[in-house]
Symmetry: C2
């Protein structure tokens, strides 16, 4: 590639909408270009990097027996209706109608289509195991597309699907993919942490995310000293042992005027009702938060969450816990028909089984009476709380869980904090942020059951197939690579995915400089090295160096002033190391450095 | 690839909706699978063929300096509004809205986006010429998707766009692409004819189609003995010399009761008003057909087409002539306000300049008075006609064009017939059918003007860039290949695009047969030959042979009964030729045959 004709303009200014380094640099270096919010065009250099990332993924998928196929992006509604996802996806997918009024979607993932295709073709346990994959364009109508390629609306994914006759088979297929993912991210040189994750709208029994740790990541995850790691949504709270409440005094309702927040309540309690052994703290209080759940069928349900007053509700954790319902703030409208809820003084007495008698609909949802009441797992039987007394300016002290109130169940909705005990008992949790670059799901039989994918087993009995689903965000992984490999001057690609192996720069004006640079470029190409050659005749050395640093090709060969003394320079982008050598030695030296980097 | 684990089921039955061989065989052989009308999934073998076709296209694009990029399929409305195509495409594109209500389309072609990108990055004549291309998924909401991949709604195209500072540059870019197209179709082994075409909705000055001749093609084209070739829409009628009408008698209105068709008119004329020298024939009559044009802005305009009575109006030719307006049949509703039109007796006297005085709107369209009147080019001044007298049961005889009536212009709307004189004067036209596999357009400045793409020329003056647009239907070309290469047993792929070079079949039960077949397969792969190995243990030789013939891999190596006598068989799918040779000679022989085919 010659820079004089390459379709490229590097930019000195950051794009106005760029929040993160990868977005900023990929645009400035002319790899991508925004076409619409969350939708990008790929320019020649970007497309080369993309093709290399895809090829690494393809090779590792093939190595574990994956077979590549390619499905459409534009799909009919019906299969997604059969699994319930047409409704569950809500506003998160693009929907459209064709000229005849038939409903279609732009697929965000393809479980349904793969299931139907296997059903179409296969019928016996002898046909399994089977793993299919594709590298394909996907769509999500994100509410807030952001960070360039990291959260886009049109993006490229590798999605794979495994089909097995039994759970042991699924376990093997899952482990094969898991191993392939580790090798893919290792080959890309992309640091990753495997964390437990929620299955969410996908369904299924087991799910792990591959996160690339970075402060700009959208996902928060935890790690324990013992190696436990989980997406914050998936962290399970270690449940304390129940407390023996025998002998605890009866609960007592006491005045706490103007105490509608935890802070004012704690201050008021210590002022009006001091405790003998130690002062009241936020962790002694039980906070009851009312939220609205919007179910896929549109039904709106109020639910109360009870949790220790020293913790906030983490809406992402709550959201993950109640999927496919959507969590919303409870509105004044919601609360109008609920006179029993006294703002700032809501207590268990009016909630769940403790409250007014209830009736339910067919889906088991409360239609009249007290709303559902879900407790943080820390509120174990026998624990004693200060909480609302359901009357203005009144709280109840010494209300004991299990003795004085119960709930409809528990929920993982409280925030996770650094220092919280790890579920594996190995010590305090550490919090970090990451970009989700891969996600693997042991789906089980959800899709096969919904779409009736059965095979005959060895005894001739029809059994439902069990499935796994495995995704890598290809364009997002590329962004994560850019995020992990840059400095203040630009991108610093690893050799494996760089748009070229070496950037040859002719800097200076002499005809001999250009002739030598061109000859070196040609010889490097003949030696199988991928070359970007800056042959622009009237561009200054300074601009060429700045462009080379911005573009981030791992090696440069500078043919310039030194040529008069019989030397050219080989530079390494990452370390900045430079070495001078005779022009006739350059090709062998570069080939050696490229090979070392590709093998490493 | 081993057949025992390959995701493949060949079908013995034709799919119910398959009308043509390529569709039937690609589905039966497990290359593609229908997902929705006009929307297909690609199975492993199909994807391999697709990748090879793409690669040949890519190499030839690169060879003429094309630079590969990749644009989104989901695009905002605005650029397409700026060029008028958002409206012009009507129901032929998929449209949708995002969650915020913004309008998007699934792009059928990308002129606008490429124009805007070049505008974004380039500003000087020194940056040009530039040719960009992509291989990308495209969408059209076809009214009648048909013939499998031949007319689909989601399909893969290579689209390229050239940018030049002046017309001479465009001419060079156009010729480079034209040459690349010839090499691509030559390498694919796909017979093609280059025909003149209409630019249609694309606009521009020059346009040619690459048609693959086949009776199942949707496009009709003509060829002359002298080499003229054109899509039937683009055929221009050789205009006869004007006739000297001096001395012709005045026109005469005569009764022709019950003569509302050409046949009855001719019969009636010969019965009531016989001509001395020869009987009246259909070619002596001037037929006036009223149609409705629906303009992009929704306006509906009635237009009369006058043509010799021995020819029908070809609606596709008329449509191409009046684009972007859409042609519709005139309805009773349309005609209600036109008492001057006497059904079956419409004549020039009430049409165009001959009719009632007219008023026009800003767009130059008739708002009141006689409708526009367009004549077939054969109706030259001085020709004499029998035509309607605008009164029931009356025709006018000897009405002379130019003397007795005029028109608003001419139109190429009459059917083209085999034997018509060729525009190049080389003799009678021959008609044939073909599949459009490529289309190249010298667009000129239409898009650059609409989107304000200008560059500074050598004198520092801003000039509008001139563009070309060049498309290959990749998936359609693959279908055309399947259409051209099959027999009653299945597909017969050329080596260049076959899913594998050789199909190794182990036929028989002996362990040695399988061991030998496996060894040959492995050695072939080691020699760089792509192998499909039928290792299925319990499948009969008959089924294996039938599958091999259906799949259409160019060479087979059959390891079976002959092995006992020390021979295996090499078969050629196309010719059916067979040769027996010792197993240890097979690899070299196959390598030789593969090389010969790939070079040929």
């Amino acid at each position: 590639m010659k820079m004089s004709s390459l379709f490229l303009r590097t930019l000195r200014e950051d794009p106005a909408d760029a929040e993160v380094a990868s977005h900023r640099l990929l645009v400035r270096a002319g790899y991508i270009r925004r076409a619409a919010p969350g939708i990008y065009s790929w320019l020649p250099l970007g497309l080369r990097v993309l093709a290399k990332v895809e090829q690494i993924v393809r090779e590792e998928m093939d190595a574990v027996g994956g077979q590549e196929v390619h499905f459409p992006a534009l799909l009919p509604k019906e299969p997604y209706e059969a699994t319930g996802r047409w409704v569950e996806y809500g506003p998160n997918i693009f929907r459209l109608q064709d000229r005849k009024g038939a409903d279609y979607l732009l697929a965000p993932t393809h479980e349904e289509m793969f299931t139907l295709l296997v059903k179409d073709l296969y019928s016996s346990y002898k046909d399994l195991p089977l793993t299919l994959y594709q590298i394909q364009t996907k769509y999500r109508d994100e509410a807030r597309p952001r960070a360039g390629l990291i959260r886009g609306r049109e993006f490229i994914m590798k999605d794979a699907y495994s089909f097995d006759a039994d759970d042991a088979g699924l376990e093997r297929s899952y482990e094969l993919q898991r191993g392939a993912y580790q090798r893919i991210f290792d080959r890309l040189g992309l640091e990753h942490v495997i964390v437990r994750a929620m299955s969410g709208a996908m369904g299924g029994s087991r799910s792990e995310e591959f996160l690339h740790p970075t402060p700009i990541g959208e996902d928060t995850f935890v790690r324990s000293p013992g190696g436990y790691a989980a997406n914050v949504e998936a962290v399970t709270t270690p449940v304390p042992e129940p407390v023996d409440a025998t002998g605890l005094p009866a609960a007592e309702v006491l005045p706490t005027p103007d105490s509608t927040t935890i802070d004012t309540l704690v201050a008021r309690a210590n002022e009006l009702h001091p405790r003998a052994d130690r002062p009241w703290g936020p962790a002694d209080t039980l906070k009851n938060v009312v939220v609205a759940l919007v179910h896929p069928d549109g039904a709106r349900e109020l639910v109360a969450i009870g949790l220790p007053g020293d913790r906030e509700v983490d809406l992402k954790r709550l959201q993950a816990a109640v999927e496919p319902a959507q969590v919303e703030q409870a509105t004044d409208e919601d609360l109008r028909g609920r006179p029993e809820l006294v703002k700032g003084y809501i207590g268990p007495a009016v909630l769940g089984p403790n409250g007014a008698a209830r009736t339910h609909d067919d889906a088991g949802r409360v239609t009249a009476g007290a709303m559902r009441y879900l407790l943080d797992p820390r509120v174990v039987p026998g624990t004693s709380w200060v909480t609302g007394a359901d009357a203005d300016g009144m709280h109840v002290f010494g209300l004991v869980a299990g003795r004085d109130f119960t709930a409809d169940g528990t929920v993982e909705a409280a925030e996770v904090r650094a220092g919280d005990p790890s579920p594996d008992g190995s010590g305090p949790l550490e919090l970090a942020r990451g970009i989700e670059i891969g996600h693997i799901f042991a789906l089980g039989r959800k899709y096969a059951e919904a779409l009736d994918l059965k095979i005959l087993d060895a005894n001739g009995k029809a059994v439902v197939v069990t499935m796994g689903s495995y995704g890598i965000g290809i364009t997002r992984a590329l962004a994560a690579l850019a995020e992990a490999n840059n400095d203040d001057k630009g991108l610093v690609w690893p050799m494996q995915v760089a748009p070229a192996h070496v950037h040859v720069l002719a800097t200076g004006k002499g005809e001999e400089i250009f002739a030598t640079a061109e000859r070196i470029a040609r010889e490097l190409e003949a030696a199988g090295v991928e070359v970007l050659y800056d042959d622009r005749p009237k561009v200054s050395a300074g601009v060429k160096f700045a462009d080379a640093e911005l573009l981030g090709v791992p090696l440069s060969v500078v043919v310039g002033r030194g040529l008069a003394e019989g030397v050219v320079e080989v530079r390494r982008r990452a370390s900045g190391d430079r070495e001078e050598l005779a022009p006739e030695l350059v090709v062998a030296r570069v080939r050696e450095l490229v090979d070392a980097a590709l093998e490493g």
